[in-house]
């Protein structure tokens, strides 16, 4: 019987959502292939969420070592290499997160296993994995095959799969193993976490968000949108490019690297709808998008759409508000 590995991601004592999502998909694949599912947890001390993982896997392989306080690509790579050499898992799922992106390619070179990144789905064809990916900022999908190998590495996009617990599974066993005795010294040393999201306004509590994206064009144009937000009693928020260009401080940013928001109404002006942004508005009641590009991905997730220059609509709304 083959084996599927899922490397779970956790931070500061909490299991990340992507871990549940990977386990959900891995369960479906394990069932389809009659493989066993092993969740791999690397940690410094016993973690309270280990039972949550056990409910979703046949086995939880726990490597507990004081050096594993926080993620470290050097250490993770060496430990996983040993486990992969020993177990020869057919598939190893990792998160397409900043940490997963730092680990998976290095592990691929070490193991010689092919890697496909940022997968939004995993299919089995003739006993081999094929993956679906989104390219050109989500405007095109791509089906990708991997070179023949005894094992494959895949990184999974956040929110691609539901975080649900698979039904009718009995909890798996928790197996503790030691870190390799010859674990090399890490070349990267963790120093601190820094909160970058705090600021004057809290966009997570607003009923109405008026959000601007790259389409706002230049810094000076933000003010006119802010006037509309003020007139309506809403808060101004934005997508990543606006923060990258220093047009607004980071605490306005909606998306995976910013805030997840849950307004009753989310007005998206000039936002194309990259998945990192869309992941931050899944809790919004109603999404209204205004964009010049009728093919903008935001229209696939919005409830209402307007194809127009955002300023035509902003000006007209301000006029109606008086």
């Amino acid at each position: 019987m083959g084996e599927i590995f899922v490397l779970v991601e956790h931070r500061q004592g909490e299991l990340r959502d992507i871990s549940y999502e990977m386990l959900w998909k891995a369960n479906a694949l394990a069932q389809e292939l009659s493989h066993s599912l092993t969740a791999v947890l690397l940690c410094a001390k016993e973690e309270s969420f280990v039972n949550e993982i056990a409910e979703r896997a046949d086995k939880v392989l726990v490597v507990e070592d004081a050096r594993l306080e926080g993620f470290n690509a050097d250490l993770y790579k060496e430990i996983l290499l040993k486990q992969i050499e020993e177990h020869k898992p057919f598939l190893t799922l990792m998160p397409q997160s900043p940490w997963g992106m730092d680990l998976a390619p290095a592990l691929s070179v070490k193991t010689g296993y092919p890697l496909a990144t940022d997968c939004v789905d995993i299919l089995m064809e003739d006993g081999k994995p094929k993956v679906l990916r989104q390219i050109y900022t989500g405007k095109i999908f791509s089906r990708v095959a991997l070179k023949d190998s005894e094992g494959y590495l895949l990184t999974v996009r956040a929110s691609a799969f539901p975080p649900d617990k698979p039904e009718g599974r009995s909890p798996g066993e928790v197996v503790k193993v030691d870190a390799p005795a010859d674990l090399p010294e890490a070349r990267r040393q963790f120093m601190a976490f820094e909160d970058t999201g705090a600021g004057e306004v809290d966009i997570t509590q607003a009923d109405l968000l008026v959000s601007v994206g790259r389409g706002v064009g230049e810094a000076d144009n933000i003010e006119t949108v802010k006037e509309l937000a003020d007139k309506m009693g809403g808060l101004l928020s934005c997508s990543r490019p606006v923060v990258d260009k220093n047009w607004l401080p980071k605490y306005h940013q909606v998306g995976t690297s910013g805030k997840s928001v849950k307004p009753k109404v989310y007005l998206a002006f000039g936002i194309s709808g990259a998945f990192q942004h869309v992941a931050g508005i899944t809790g919004a009641g109603t999404v209204i998008a205004v964009n010049k590009d009728k093919k903008a991905p935001i229209f696939r997730v919005a409830d209402y759409g307007v194809v127009d220059d955002m300023f035509n609509v902003v000006d007209a709304m301000k006029e109606k508000m008086g």
Binding site: P98, P105, A106, V144, M232, V243
Partner: protein
């Protein structure tokens, strides 16, 4: 500090209707405008700022045909000292092949840091930088939003999800994949690009790198490109701006927001 920065020329796809070509493995590119990949633009700026602070050289590297030299000239105009284009001919390439090519080129250059963008705007795989790091056996970090070099090591910030950065220290030589927003890339004028025309742009045929057949074998193959399946999508609001504005304001009120 000596820095190698790896860059890619990509099509601009915002506000563009992409078409898939007859092979179904690529998009039609003849009508598209091209730019320096956005992440790479930040990486080049960061390399040049570090060079300006610490002395040393910046070498920009790309893999591509003659048209791709346009992004190298831009890098030179921004302040890179010299540039290398590897001409792959008709060699099929995925991220693995590209990383092995870049590793071979980098081995021939003196470097303290290698920088790439986190990902490219077109194929979006986000793995070339770290594949390259492992090929070189160098320490690495992905999604970097801050770099402070000290003696023999560098303090970096890595952007995590949910408004959190991780601060860590890394030994030189290292490979970093650079996130957008790390700096404000400088403006490049046509005149600046003309002036930089004298700087070195070295073309290296792939065959000169002496890579093995195994090195040049892709690990991944695109089977098919297709458009996202139709979803119900948004209900479109039609009409002139005034009518649209009225409709939006009505919807906002209907959803229980008092404005």
């Amino acid at each position: 500090m000596n820095i190698v920065v790896c860059v890619k020329r990509v099509p601009m796809t915002q506000e563009v209707d992409l078409e898939i070509d007859a092979s179904k493995k690529d998009v039609k590119k003849d009508m598209l405008a091209y730019v320096l990949n956005e992440w790479d633009n930040y990486a080049v700026e960061e390399a040049i700022q570090l060079k300006e602070k610490t002395d040393g050289t910046v070498v920009a590297v790309t893999i591509g045909d003659e048209d791709d030299e346009e992004v190298l000239r831009r890098c030179l105009a921004m302040g890179a000292d010299r540039s290398i284009r590897v001409d792959p001919g008709d060699q099929p390439m995925d991220s693995f092949v590209k990383a092995r090519i870049l590793a071979e080129v980098t081995r021939g250059v003196e470097y303290d840091l290698v920088m790439t963008g986190v990902q490219s705007d077109d194929s979006n795989s986000g793995m070339v930088g770290i594949l390259l790091a492992e090929q070189l056996g160098a320490p690495h970090a992905a999604v970097v939003t801050g770099i402070e070099p000290q003696d023999g090591e560098v303090t970096i910030k890595v952007e995590l999800e949910g408004g959190m950065d991780e601060v860590s220290k890394l030994r030189f030589p290292a490979v970093l994949s650079i996130q957008t927003g790390i700096n404000e890339p400088r403006y490049v004028s046509i005149m600046g690009i003309r002036k930089a025309a004298k700087k070195e742009l070295n073309v290296v045929p792939l065959a000169d790198l002496g890579l093995s057949e195994e090195d040049l074998t892709p690990m991944t193959t695109v089977e098919e490109y297709y458009f996202p399946p139709e979803t119900e999508g948004a209900e479109m609001i039609e009409g002139d701006a005034g009518t649209v504005a009225e409709t939006i304001l009505r919807i906002i009120k209907e959803k229980g927001v008092s404005i």
